[in-house]
Symmetry: C2
Subunit: 201 residues, 2 copies
DNA sequence: CGAAAATTTGACATGACTCAACTGGAGTGG
DNA sequence: CCACTCCAGTTGAGTCATGTCAAATTTTCG
C-alpha cells in the first residue's frame, strides 16, 4: 500500500509539467508513464558523452546536471544547468542518431525519468497530443538559447553574471563556481575577479 | 490556364520543404496552402519591429532577410540570415503574444508565404500531422542556435568568420559586410581587419 | 587529518573595441 | 549624365576587456 503510493509520487512532478502545457486525462498520463523508465544515478555520473549517440531524453525528478561542450583545447562551455523539472539530452543526436555534440554530467545524485527513441515514437504514435507538448518544450528551449546568444554578445561578462544570478538565484549554491564561468563563457579566474570587484562596490 | 500554373508554382518550394519532413497527400497540401497568404515586400522593408507582437511566421520563396536584436547602445546583433526556404519570425512573441525581441528586415525584394497565429492553430487542429513538422523545424533551429552559441564562445572571431564562409558560402554576395560582423558579434572594423590579415597569409 | 580540487590574486599578454580619418562606390536630384 | 552626398569599407592609434600562467590560499571530501 505504502509502496504503491511512493511509486505514484514518482510521476507527480512530470504530470504537473505536462498539465501546464495542456490538459491530460488520468488514462493518458498512465499511458505516458508506461513509456518512461525511472533511473537513479550517482553524482558525477556521465549521462552522455560527446561523440556518442544520445539514447534518451531525461526528465529530472530530483538532482542537478550540466550539459557542456568540450573544445579542442579541453575547455568546457556549459550550455545548461538542469535541475528539477528540466529535460536533458542532445536533441540533434537523439533524433538523427548522430554523434552527440555535448556531454551531460550529474552534479548531484539524480533521479530521472527517461524515454528512448523507440518509446518516444511509440508514445507519439499512440497519443499524438504529445507532439504538441514536445514542440512547446523545444520552442521554449530555443527562445532561451536565443536570449543567451544575444546576451553573450551584447553584454560584458560582469553584466551577464549579474543577469545569471538574477535568473537562477539558486544555482550558485548547487554548482561549483568554475562551471558558472564556463556557462558565461569566461575563465574561472576572471569570474573570481568580477565577484571581487562587485564586493568592493 | 497559364496563370493557374503560376499560382501553383508559388507552393512548389514549400511543398518540397514539407515532403522532406514526412509524406503529404495532394489534398493535405492544398489544405495547408489555404491557410497561407502570399505577400511581396520591397527591399529594406521592416517585417517585424522589436517590441511589437510577431503576427506571422513567414516562409521565404524568394529573397533575403535578417533577424537582429538592437541593444541599448544601438548596436545590432544578427541572429539569422534567411534566404530561400527559410522561415522567419520570433517564435516566443508569436506564441505568447509578448513583445518581439528581434527586428526582421528585408535585404532584398522578397516573396513570402505567411501564416498567422489563428491560421496556424486552425491548421494544427485540422491536420495534427503539422505539429510534427513544426516540431522538427524548431528542433533544427535549436540545434543550429546551440552550435552558434558554442562557436561564439569557443572560437576567435577569425575562426568564426572562416566557419561562416564555409557554412554559408553564398551569403556574403547577398548581404553587406557589416551585417556579417554583426552576425559574428564583432565590430565592422575588426571584421575588415580579419579579412585583410587573411589575404596577407 | 591530509590530498586534491576550487578559488583567489597578481603580472603580463592579446583579442577585440572605439574613435577618427580616409577612400571608394552607389544612388540621387538637378 | 554629372556632381554631390552618403554609406560601406579600410586603416591606424590608443584603450579596455578578458585570457593565460603561476603561485598562494581556501575548501572539500575521502
Amino acid at each position: 500500500m505504502k509502496k504503491a503510493s511512493v511509486n505514484e509520487n514518482r510521476y507527480a512532478e512530470i504530470d504537473a509539467f505536462l498539465q501546464r502545457c495542456m490538459p491530460f486525462s488520468e488514462e493518458e498520463l498512465e499511458i505516458f508513464h508506461s513509456f518512461l523508465t525511472y533511473q537513479k544515478f550517482k553524482k558525477k555520473s556521465i549521462l552522455l558523452q560527446q561523440g556518442e549517440i544520445c539514447k534518451h531524453e531525461s526528465y529530472i525528478i530530483k538532482g542537478c546536471a550540466r550539459t557542456f561542450y568540450t573544445d579542442a583545447n579541453g575547455h568546457d562551455i556549459t550550455l545548461l544547468f538542469a535541475v528539477e523539472d528540466y529535460w536533458l539530452g542532445d536533441i540533434a543526436s537523439f533524433y538523427k542518431k548522430t554523434p552527440s555534440r555535448f556531454n551531460i554530467q550529474l552534479i548531484e545524485d539524480t533521479e530521472l525519468l527517461q524515454i528512448d527513441y523507440e518509446a518516444k515514437e511509440a508514445l507519439l504514435e499512440q497519443l499524438p497530443k504529445f507532439e504538441r507538448v514536445f514542440r512547446i518544450m523545444v520552442q521554449n528551449h530555443l527562445a532561451s538559447t536565443q536570449n543567451r546568444l544575444v546576451n553573450n554578445i551584447a553584454f560584458t561578462a560582469a553584466e551577464n553574471y549579474a543577469a545569471f544570478l538574477k535568473q537562477f538565484p539558486n544555482i550558485p549554491q548547487r554548482v561549483p563556481q568554475h562551471y558558472i564561468a564556463s556557462y558565461l563563457g569566461i575563465s574561472p579566474e576572471f569570474l573570481s575577479k568580477i565577484r571581487n570587484d562587485k564586493k568592493a562596490i
